[in-house]
Symmetry: C2
Subunit: 123 residues, 2 copies
């Protein structure tokens, strides 16, 4: 979630009571871009098919346009594609994560000076 | 967690396998600053006394110095104080939240343009 192993940074974008985007939904869109398949993307992320469909339905309800479309049959046997809206939302989200990570970098380094040396789990 | 109701931003700072600081721990330190009492601070946040002590123990193990000290008796009847280390850690954390929120503000506004009008929960 961050370029600092010390800091974890989780951003979520709300639409009403639903999260339109967050780390899990961003990963799902990326996996669909890679696999062109909703089922394969879910498996890659260790999600049940039900959970995968549920995340996509939530996203599709939040945005003006669908974030993933599925074509059945055709020359290539169909498949699922991330739409322009989905790509833009994903790109904005990843850019937010990067910008927020950069914005806190110096303070994270200063914070680290306050921490005890070593790993408390070793005690 | 953020100045944008649309965006929620959660920062956590790790020390080994333990979170040295996060939203809950920051709130606890602030409540101890206000109340000068670990028990009162926990009640204010709706935490059990066990949970409150556990959060403080985790923090005290993570930092070079304790984040809260308790004096027993004395003229004012004792009480708990956030130490200089605790104050610095809290201040850095709140500054990180503010910096990260500012860093994503423009992209949050752009993201919002992609969202459907209205609240999906109303559908």
């Amino acid at each position: 979630m961050s370029e600092h192993p010390l800091a974890s940074l989780k951003i979520r974008l709300r639409h009403g009571d639903t999260f339109a985007m967050g780390p899990g939904k961003a990963d799902l869109l990326e996996a669909i871009q890679e696999t062109a398949s909703i089922a394969a993307a879910g498996r890659k992320l260790g999600l049940s098919y039900w959970k995968t469909r549920h995340l996509l339905e939530e996203m599709n309800q939040c945005f003006r346009q669908q974030v993933v479309v599925t074509s059945k049959g055709g020359e290539k046997g169909g498949g699922s594609q991330v739409t322009e809206t989905g790509r833009m939302a994903l790109a904005q989200f990843r850019a937010m994560e990067a910008a927020a990570g950069s914005a806190i970098a110096e303070r994270v380094a200063a914070f680290q000076e306050l921490l005890a040396p070593g790993n408390p789990a070793d005690n």
